[in-house]
Each structure stands twice: as C-alpha cells, then as structure tokens.
Symmetry: C2
Subunit: 561 residues, 2 copies
Amino acid sequence: MSSSRLDNQRVIRAPHGTELSCKSWLAEAPLRMLMNNLDPDVAERPQELVVYGGIGRAARDWDSYDRIVAALRDLNDDETLLVQSGKPVGVFRTHADAPRVLIANSNLVPRWANWEHFQELDRKGLAMYGQMTAGSWIYIGSQGIVQGTYETFVEAGRQHYNGSLTGKWILTGGLGGMGGAQPLAATMAGACMLAVECRPSSIEMRLRTGYLDRHTASLDEALAWIQEACAKGEAISVGLLGNAADVFPELARRAAADPSVRPHIVTDQTSAHDPVNGYLPQGWTLEQWDAARESDPASVAAAARKSMAVHVEAMLAFHAMGVPTVDYGNNIRQMAKEEGVENAFAFPGFVPAYIRPLFCRGIGPFRWAALSGDPEDIYKTDAKVKELIPDDAHLHNWLDMARERIHFQGLPARICWVGLGQRHRLGLAFNEMVKSGELKAPIVIGRDHLDSGSVASPNRETEAMKDGSDAVSDWPLLNALLNTASGATWVSLHHGGGVGMGFSQHSGMVVVCDGSDEAARRVGRVLWNDPGTGVMRHADAGYDIAIACAKEQGLNLPFLK
Amino acid sequence: MSSSRLDNQRVIRAPHGTELSCKSWLAEAPLRMLMNNLDPDVAERPQELVVYGGIGRAARDWDSYDRIVAALRDLNDDETLLVQSGKPVGVFRTHADAPRVLIANSNLVPRWANWEHFQELDRKGLAMYGQMTAGSWIYIGSQGIVQGTYETFVEAGRQHYNGSLTGKWILTGGLGGMGGAQPLAATMAGACMLAVECRPSSIEMRLRTGYLDRHTASLDEALAWIQEACAKGEAISVGLLGNAADVFPELARRAAADPSVRPHIVTDQTSAHDPVNGYLPQGWTLEQWDAARESDPASVAAAARKSMAVHVEAMLAFHAMGVPTVDYGNNIRQMAKEEGVENAFAFPGFVPAYIRPLFCRGIGPFRWAALSGDPEDIYKTDAKVKELIPDDAHLHNWLDMARERIHFQGLPARICWVGLGQRHRLGLAFNEMVKSGELKAPIVIGRDHLDSGSVASPNRETEAMKDGSDAVSDWPLLNALLNTASGATWVSLHHGGGVGMGFSQHSGMVVVCDGSDEAARRVGRVLWNDPGTGVMRHADAGYDIAIACAKEQGLNLPFLK
Ligand SMILES: NC(=O)c1ccc[n+]([C@@H]2O[C@H](COP(=O)([O-])OP(=O)(O)OC[C@H]3O[C@@H](n4cnc5c(N)ncnc54)[C@H](O)[C@@H]3O)[C@@H](O)[C@H]2O)c1
Ligand SMILES: NC(=O)c1ccc[n+]([C@@H]2O[C@H](COP(=O)([O-])OP(=O)(O)OC[C@H]3O[C@@H](n4cnc5c(N)ncnc54)[C@H](O)[C@@H]3O)[C@@H](O)[C@H]2O)c1
C-alpha cells in the first residue's frame, strides 16, 4: 500500500450546522458527504480511506482527499469537478443546472477488467476500488443494508408464507460488514435466524451493536433456541460459531431425516466472491487462514473453492427439499460451478426471486441525509414521508422500527424503498421544508447503485432478465447521462461494485435540496427520471408490471407506442 | 438477420434547406445527421442500416429508425431522447441546456464483452454495433478517414524524414472502406504508395473515386513505377493485386539484399481484427474464401491467422532493417502474437508513434457539417478557419487540398485537426455566421470517437501510455458526462468501435450552432471542455507536452497544483 493511503492521525467528521465552508450548498453537500463516508462511526477502516465492502474507498489517497476538499471549497456555482478513481483531475466551467461533481471509479476496458490488472494499477497508484456508495459519497452506514435485507426477507415471506414470517426461521452464513445486517433484518421481519460465522470477533461485533441476540458454538443449542422461539412466535437471532461448509451439510442431513428441523429460508453471505480473502476453508483454523493468505494465496483459494462446492451442494439439497433457497449476491454459485457443481445455478439469486417486482415499479433504496447533523431533521422527514404516503403500512412500520432500532452513524440519515411517482414527491416536500425553515439545513437525497435502473450485473441485479439482456450495460450508462442532464448534484459511474471486477457496471446520483426554487426544479426532474429509467429498462425487457407502471405513470417510452 | 433490418425499398437522404420538420434546430440536427449517415452516398449498406466499419449501424432496425424519427419530430426544447443500442427507449424532461439526445451503444458488462455474446444478443434483436460515428450520427464519409491517415503520414515524415516525404514511398495492405483512403492520403502528404490488395473490386473502386492512381498485378512493374516517381519527386499511388502475406515477405527479402528497394514506411490496413471475414489466407482464391466463410468459418480463421503471422514476420523484418513500421489499428500484432510470433509488438501502433503528441494538445478529428446542404456554407467556414488560424500553413494546405480533391458525400462537411483553444473559437465564429445570416442554416460540430480525451483502447488510441494507464476507461466516461453537463446537443457512449468487442470504450459528442446566444454559450463550453479532457488525461499520464499545454491554456487541473 502506498504510504499516502495510510494515516493514523486523521480523524474526519463532516461539519454540522449551517455554516458553509464552500461557496454554496451544492459544493458543501458533496464535501460533507465525502467526509461523512470517512467518519470513524461510518467507515470500516477510515485511516486507509476504506469505507466498506473490502477495499471500497472514498478517495484514492490522502493527497487526493486533500485536493478534493480544496477543489470543493473553491468551486463556483457554474463549475464542475471531475474525479477519476478517487483523484480530482479537473475543474471545468459548466452551468448552474449541471452537476457540481462527476465521478468515474474503477472502470477498465473489458478485456483488462479483472482483479489482476486492477491490482497492478492499484499498486502503481493509478486506481481505486469505488464499490458502490464508497467512492460516490453516499454510504449511510448499516442502515442502508438492513433495509435491503429486510425487504428481501419480507418479500420471501409474502411469496412463500402468506405474508408472515412469524414462527419461521432463516439459515444463513456470514456476519461480516454486510452479512451482519441479516439477523436484525430477519427479526425486524418477524423471523428467527441461525447465522453461521467462523470468526468470533464478527459475532461479538453484532452482539455489541444490537444486531444479533445470542450466540453459541453448539448446533444443538442453537436449534433448540430457534425452535423454542418459533413455537412461541418470537423472533430471535442466533450466531453459531462454526464453518458454514460444515454446518450447512450437517443441517441438510438432519432436515432430510426430520422435516421439523428444516429451515424456512436458506441463504448465505460469506464473502465467497473473493476466494483468497473471503471464505474459510473447511478444516482450517483462522490462524492458518490468516497466515496462508499472505504466504500462499493460491492454496487458500483452491481449498476455499472446494469448501464452497460442499456448501452449495448443501444449499442445493435444501432447495430440492422445497426450502426456498437463494444466492445473496456473493457469487457462490459461480464458484461452485467452476468447481464442478454442474447444477449450482438451480436455485436463484435474490434479485430475480424477490426484488425484481419492486424494480419493475422503480422501487429501490432511496435514502437521504441531514446536512445539519441534527437527528430532529430526519425525524421531521420521517413524519413527512408518512404524511405523503399515508396508506403504506409496510413503509410506516419500517420507519418506526428504523427509528427505534437503528442508531444513526455519522450524519443522521434514513433509507426507505419507494418508487417512481413517490421519490420526486418526497424530494420536493423535503425541499419545501428546507425553504420554510422547518429543517435546519439542506437535505441530500441519493440511493445505492443497487437500484432499478442503475446497474448491469448478470450474477446479481440483472440475473435472468426475461429477455436475456442481463449483460447489456447501455442502461446504467444512460442512467448516468440522464441524471447528469437532469441536474443531479453529483453523478458517478463505477465498475465492479459488490460482485467484483468484470461482473458489473453501475451508476449513482445524489441531488441536494437546498430550499431554492432552482433546486425544486432539479429535484423534480432527477427524482422522476432516475427511477423512470428503471421502469423503462424493465418494460423494455418485457415485464408486465413495468409496462403497466409505465402506462399508469405516463412515461414516454417510444417502444410502447 | 431479422427481416426488419433489411429494406431494399428505402432511400434515405437528409432534408436540405431551412424548413424544419422538428420543433427546433436542436432536434432537426440529430434527425438530419441520422438520415445523412444512411444516405446512399455516405453509407456502405444503407438498406441494412450499415454505415461503415463492418456492421456499424445508425439504428437497430427499421422500426427503431422510424420511432427515432417520430420521437425527434415530437421532441420539445426541454426534453431528452434516450437511444439504447440503436433503439429509442425513452423521452424524459430535462432542460434547455441539456442534450436533446443521449446514446449508449453496444456496451456490455466486461465478463460478457466478447463477440460471441454480442452476436447472441444481436440475433435476438437486443443489440447493435455502433462502431464510432455510425451509431452516434456524425459519420461524414471518407473525408474523415483521409485526414486522419494524412496526419499520420505527415507526422511520420516529420519524425523520420525531416518533414518531407518527397521521393519516399509507403508500403501497405488493404484498400477497403478505411484502408482505401491510404493512397490519397499518401499522395496528399507528398509520398508514393504501394498498396497490396487481394480483391479486384476494391482496387477498381479506389481508381473510380480518384483515391488511387494506377494498378497492376506485377510486383516488378509496381516497383518500377514507384521508383521512377520517387526519383522525379512525384507522388503516385499504385494498387498491387495480390496477397499481402505473399508480397510483404518477398519485398522484405529483396530489401534485405538491396537497400535501394526498401520502402520508407511500412504499415497495413487489411481487416486483420476479424479473422473470419477480414483477411484472405495465403494460397486461397477469393471464391474459396467467400464460400468457406459461411461453410467452415473456423478453418478460415485458422488459415488467416497463420498468414497474418507470416505477414507480421515480414513487417518485423522491415522494422529490423530500420524502416519505420507501424500497426494501423487493425490488431494484426495481437493476432500474430496469439499465433506464436513472440515479438509481434516490437513495432509500435500508429497512435504512440505519431498521433499522441497531437492528442497531448487536444488536437484531433474536429469536424462539421452544413445542415443547409449547401457546399457554399462549407467553403465560407473554410475561409473562416483560415482567417482565425492564419499562421498554420499545414492546416491551410489541408483545407485547400480537401476542397480540391475530396468530393462531398451527403451533407457537405469538413474535417480538420485542431486542438484546445482553437476548437471553441471556430465554433463560436460559425455560430456568429449562422446568426448574421452569412450561412444559410445551422452548422453541427462533432468529432470522431478516436480523439484526445474520448477513448480508452489499449491496442490503439491508448497503447503504451507513459504511466501504464492504457486500460483505464474512467476517462471516456468522464468525457461523456462532462459533455452532457456542458450542453452538447447529443452525446454517446460506445464499446468496441474499430478494434472490436472487449477492446475499447469511447464517447462522442455533437453540438449545434443555431445562431442563438444560448448556443454560443453551449458551444463555448463544450468545445473547450471536450478537448480539455484530452489534455487533462495526457497531463495526468505525465506527458510534458500536455502539462505545458494545460498550463499555457490555463486549465484548472487540481493534480498540477
Ligand atoms: N446482495 C447484496 O446486496 C449484497 C450486498 C453486499 C454484499 N454482498 C455480498 O455478501 C458477501 C458478504 O459481504 P460482507 O460485506 O459481509 O463481507 P465480509 O467479508 O465483511 O464478511 C464475510 C463474513 O463471512 C465469514 N466467513 C468466511 N468464511 C466463512 C465460512 N466458511 N463459514 C462461516 N463464516 C465464514 C467471515 O468471517 C466474515 O465475517 C460478499 O460476497 C458481498 O459481495 C451482497
Ligand atoms: N487506425 C485507424 O484509425 C483505423 C480506422 C479504421 C479502421 N482501422 C482498421 O483497419 C482495418 C481495415 O479497415 P477497412 O474499413 O478498410 O476494412 P475492409 O474490410 O473494408 O477492407 C479490408 C481490405 O483488405 C483486403 N484484404 C484482406 N485480406 C487481404 C490480404 N491477405 N492481402 C491483401 N488484401 C487483403 C480486403 O479485400 C479488403 O479490401 C480494420 O481492421 C480496421 O479496424 C483502423
């Protein structure tokens, strides 16, 4: 690692309040959100500029960080800053309705779009892994992950269990940065969860932050707790210390013999996408693993892939028993398939299984943060959301639970999954609240790159598209271009994200509600057009829900005429 | 081929004159340029919507073409049409300074970015090959190619022959769509040319259009003509009927024995990038080739690759003799290398050899077309260019030669390579001429995707970058986003282009001078920012010329501070 990537002295926190250090809120907003991404309460390893997701960074190195900050402080209302893989490379004259920042991270010409080439560039100081919201400055901590997982479980409950997960339990693996959200999401959704995790510190972390309820190293004890809770209709989560490649097959054997010990949903969030750093091989201790990753990565990868195949065979066994089983976006099926498990893709990924119907209506991980730093500003927007969308009990329930159970990290923020026709109404209302002084300072509104119209990722968000267009990445590129044309405050185009080099292209956008009439016009356009591209993309692929939504909302899609 | 791709009844020509069929010139301009790309005097196979470059299309199929036309006729001044691989997919509300059209063509998630997957999508009607200016509606016929080739030869003359090619001769292969520009470019640059071409019809076509002077099937005769012309200081071009894989080695043997028969520059423009359709194997007749391409493509490819290796071995021999030898962007070195020619990359590509110093100053294939259809409008702009850039004899010479020797195809158009600081001055002047009525109708200004800041293509435009950043495609993405933010009239993002699937990502832009003050502001921004990104990209890579240019022109590049 280049030395300018590590600085143990720095502690970054976004300024709160209404005093500007930039020339406008449109520059102040990306400045604060960049800083917020590196807040020690938000980022995984802020001294290395790592926000989340393995090596997902907010800036290429500390020198680049300083220059970004300086450029934003100096930025005029008719200028745009360009950021290339975390490094500020140019300031150009544009106009008031243009984005203030344009970002491209980790993009490589396809033939070279692999981890080896990326790492070579990274070592030379020419690259940065942007992940999704790390390099695009709109990560909001665990909250964003909890709701995505919650929505997935709730939808699974709708499809398989008549809308209720009471008395049901979910088997999974992995309690890391993302996976750690699973137990909280499960209990919020009313289900019990058994999560197999091999690293004691990961379990402890989730207990400490209230994401996980109990832990044990005994499968029998874990099952007993789960079955007791299920019987009572209570939702508890249990972390089981062990290797998923051992526990999943053992449970599959028991479940085959005794249907009463069958889980109701099976999934996994170990970091299978990275066979060197993400998956503990069977029979290895953590110490062996940590040592060999440095000294002999090839042997780790080979052993890990073998264990993943065993792991996926067990998932296939559950699937064959009729237990709803899904890949949770970690590419474990691909790994098993490459290891000889021919039918690894027999069970689906979570997007086609549960999320796509939402995407068809432009529903996705809409989120916002209060630049004032005042939690009251978020509570007021929570109330506004309920007021504007009065008849969505699920949404109200989510907002109540989120307020109660999720602590803010860094700038107060909220996420809620809403769609085309709702997003711009919320944005315009928030802008009004800033204008009237009801909120103390402007609000930024953004979303994950994992959204309806913003990503091409054939093993995840665009798996098994109806027309076979999984790998067509024109769509996220058009999304980014249109958000730029609509006046988003910053727009980003990334490659790799959660599934790694070569496997996805995706775009992000953030728009600022500074209370001005110009902002209202921009917010109205951006928050309509952005989910609109999602409905368009799914309508083009032939999904009836999307076609109906497009007609109902009056989208102008020439191919439907 | 889907039947809606072939329509032998259609003859498309852009309307001329000042009557609008759209609601504004900003929609009329893309409409006319789309139609112009399909003009039978411009396009290679207009009935199939193929403009140039193998299968580079202007629209996905005729139904899409009709819907694009309808959408443009209906487009309002605050709306933007989205085109996805040649199909119109949405019209969204933006604003007056936003592009009227945003285009993404042929983009695929990297792991799937290969010909096989593209062809599968193409067969399903889900894809279109956009090439560079085909799917982005700014192809202007052979003129665009002639000048690029001319600039390359002139620069080679500067570097190797003290600025004069008088008495020198160039050896090449291929007189196809692009390659056919070589003999005219060579003689314009003052050199003789010997071009080996295996297909009589390709030779005849170049003779007929005045691009080629003479032809023969005898190497001895060809050499005699060339040597006589060289001795007299005359520039002539000779088409030699034959197989380059036979002729190049034979010439290399003679040149090794007798330095007086050495060519002064060696290159090649057979379609080596496509081993099935682009390169005649040694010992095969054209009839055998044409038949086997359908019946047994694999055997054609294998034989062609073998011959390419022989061909490249001969080029390496010239290189070893000290003859300046370059790959002209057809990937023939890659093919030979895959065939076992270890040192295939010993001679450079044409960009690092001759074009990069121009790119460092933002100089590239700037072009414009007269929507009036009146050649006088172009002649007036020619004069304006000379007036505004009075001291560039090379440029004046080019304009004089172009007017004299190149016939307009479709809408009258001009190309000239100019750089940062010049482009926006020309654009503003043209807009003034429209405003004052000096020109009969608006002018569109665009460029090839092969330009300074708009392409990542490690075997061509970004080969051997100083810092090793050849494959980083953040740059063309930022270019497209910035052009969108600056108010270009249409902006495009493509994949594949001239080097094929997986090998490049690139962006295009066109801006309209409609004579309004708003257009002046947009033109001023776009034509500064667009070449500005090229200077920025090369300055970031460490080129002194680019760093000096950035400083001289006052670019705001945070990494230089
Ligand atoms: N679907 C989505 O939206 C989505 C979102 C984020 C991440 N992901 C994917 O989910 C995976 C997990 O992400 P993360 O951020 O939590 O990763 P992480 O690396 O922080 O956590 C992985 C956890 O798995 C544990 N683990 C590894 N091997 C194990 C084994 N054999 N048995 C039991 N536990 C084991 C590790 O100790 C670690 O705690 C990644 O592949 C990621 O790409 C999916
Ligand atoms: N450097 C650039 O800017 C640039 C621009 C355009 C095209 N190109 C590349 O140049 C190549 C040529 O492009 P094009 O549009 O002229 O292609 P084309 O297919 O129209 O023409 C190729 C010509 O080569 C001839 N040919 C094939 N095999 C031969 C052989 N063994 N010996 C002699 N002649 C042979 C064919 O008969 C044909 O006339 C392509 O690979 C293209 O990608 C480079």
